[in-house]
C-alpha cells in the first residue's frame, strides 16, 4: 500500500480538496473537488468534480493519464498530495451526490466559522452534474506548510 493507514481517518474530514492534471505541453489544470472516496485496499481515490470544471481535465487525461489530489485540513493547514494513474470517469451515483452535499455543508460550516460566506462558496463550487474520476495513488507527499515540506511519505512513516 502506498497511502499510509493513518491517512484513512485524515481523509474522512471535510478537507479542502483540489485535483490537477496537465497536458503534454505541460500546461496544468486545477479543478475543485467536491468530495472524495478512498479505498485503502487498492489505494484508489474517486474524486467528485462538478462537470463544469472538467473540460480541460478530460482532454489532459486523454493525453496524459496522471492525476494529483491535494487535501488540506482547514484549521491546521495539515495537507497531503496524492499522485497517481488515472483509471476511469463516470457519472456520480445518487448516493455520491448526496454525500457531496453533506461534505460541502460541513466544509462551508468551517469556512463560515472563519468569517467567510457559506452561500458564497456554494455558489462558487456547487454546479451539478458531478463527475467521478478515479485514480490509483502511486506517491504521497507531505504538503503541510513548514520548512522542508514537499517530502515523499513512504508507507510505515507516521
Amino acid at each position: 500500500m502506498v497511502v499510509p493507514a493513518w491517512h484513512v481517518e485524515f481523509l474522512k474530514q471535510p478537507l479542502s480538496l483540489w485535483i490537477a492534471t496537465t497536458n503534454m505541453e505541460n500546461v496544468p489544470e486545477p479543478a475543485k473537488c467536491t468530495g472524495i472516496s478512498f479505498d485503502p485496499e487498492t489505494d484508489t481515490f474517486t474524486c467528485f468534480v462538478p462537470s463544469k470544471f472538467t473540460v480541460k481535465t478530460f482532454k489532459d487525461l486523454k493525453e496524459n493519464p496522471i492525476m494529483t489530489l491535494v487535501g488540506v485540513e482547514l484549521h491546521t493547514y495539515e495537507g497531503y498530495q496524492y499522485k497517481g494513474q488515472y483509471l476511469f470517469q463516470r457519472e456520480c451515483t445518487q448516493k455520491e451526490i448526496d454525500y457531496q452535499y453533506k461534505y460541502m455543508k460541513e466544509f462551508t460550516d468551517i469556512l463560515e466559522s472563519f468569517g467567510y460566506s457559506g452561500p458564497g462558496y456554494w455558489k462558487a463550487y456547487i454546479h451539478p452534474p458531478f463527475i467521478a474520476l478515479s485514480f490509483k495513488a502511486t506517491q504521497v507527499f507531505d504538503q503541510s506548510p513548514k520548512v522542508g515540506t514537499g517530502g515523499e511519505i513512504k508507507t510505515g512513516q507516521s
Binding site: 496537465t22 496522471i66 494529483t68 458564497g120 513548514k146
Partner: protein, 133 residues
C-alpha cells in the same frame, strides 16, 4: 486579450489575500502539482507576484516549466477566476518584496503562524490570460 478575458484590474478584490488561491504547475515530465498559495500580489497591468515561502514542488516546477495556472476567488461575489501565468524572475529585495513581506507578516500575526508566512522571495509572473470560470 480577447473579449472573453478579464483584465487584472477587474479582479482586484481577489488579489487581497482574503481567500487563499490555488496554483497548479507541471514538471517537464508531465507530472501535475497543486497547492495553496498565501498571496498573489498585483504588480502592474500585466504582472503579478506570488509569494515564495518554501522551496517546494511548485518552485521546482516553475523553474523548469514556467507556466502556472491559478484559481482565485473573489471574496465579495465568490466568483472564480482562472489565471494563466508565466514565471519571469525572483526578487529578494525591493518595493514589491517589502510590500509582500509586510502583508504576509500581517497574515501571520492574524493567524498566529509566523513560521509559515516568512517570505523568501517575490516571484514575478507575466499574466497570459484571465477567464471567469
Amino acid at each position: 486579450m480577447n473579449k472573453s478575458q478579464v483584465k487584472l484590474e477587474e479582479i482586484m478584490p481577489a488579489l487581497q489575500g482574503v481567500i487563499p488561491s490555488i496554483v497548479a504547475t507541471s514538471s517537464l515530465d508531465h507530472i501535475p502539482n497543486v497547492t495553496y498559495i498565501s498571496q498573489i500580489y498585483y504588480v502592474d497591468t500585466n504582472h503579478v507576484a506570488l509569494s515564495y515561502q518554501f522551496f517546494n514542488k511548485t518552485i521546482k516546477n516553475v523553474r523548469e516549466n514556467p507556466v502556472l495556472v491559478a484559481i482565485l476567488t473573489c471574496p465579495v461575489h465568490y466568483s472564480l477566476y482562472k489565471m494563466t501565468l508565466r514565471y519571469q524572475e525572483s526578487q529578494t529585495s525591493g518595493e514589491i518584496f517589502d510590500n509582500m513581506s509586510m502583508q504576509l507578516d500581517a497574515l501571520a500575526i492574524s493567524q498566529k503562524k509566523e513560521h509559515i508566512f516568512k517570505l523568501r522571495a517575490a516571484d514575478i509572473y507575466e499574466v497570459i490570460s484571465i477567464i471567469h470560470v
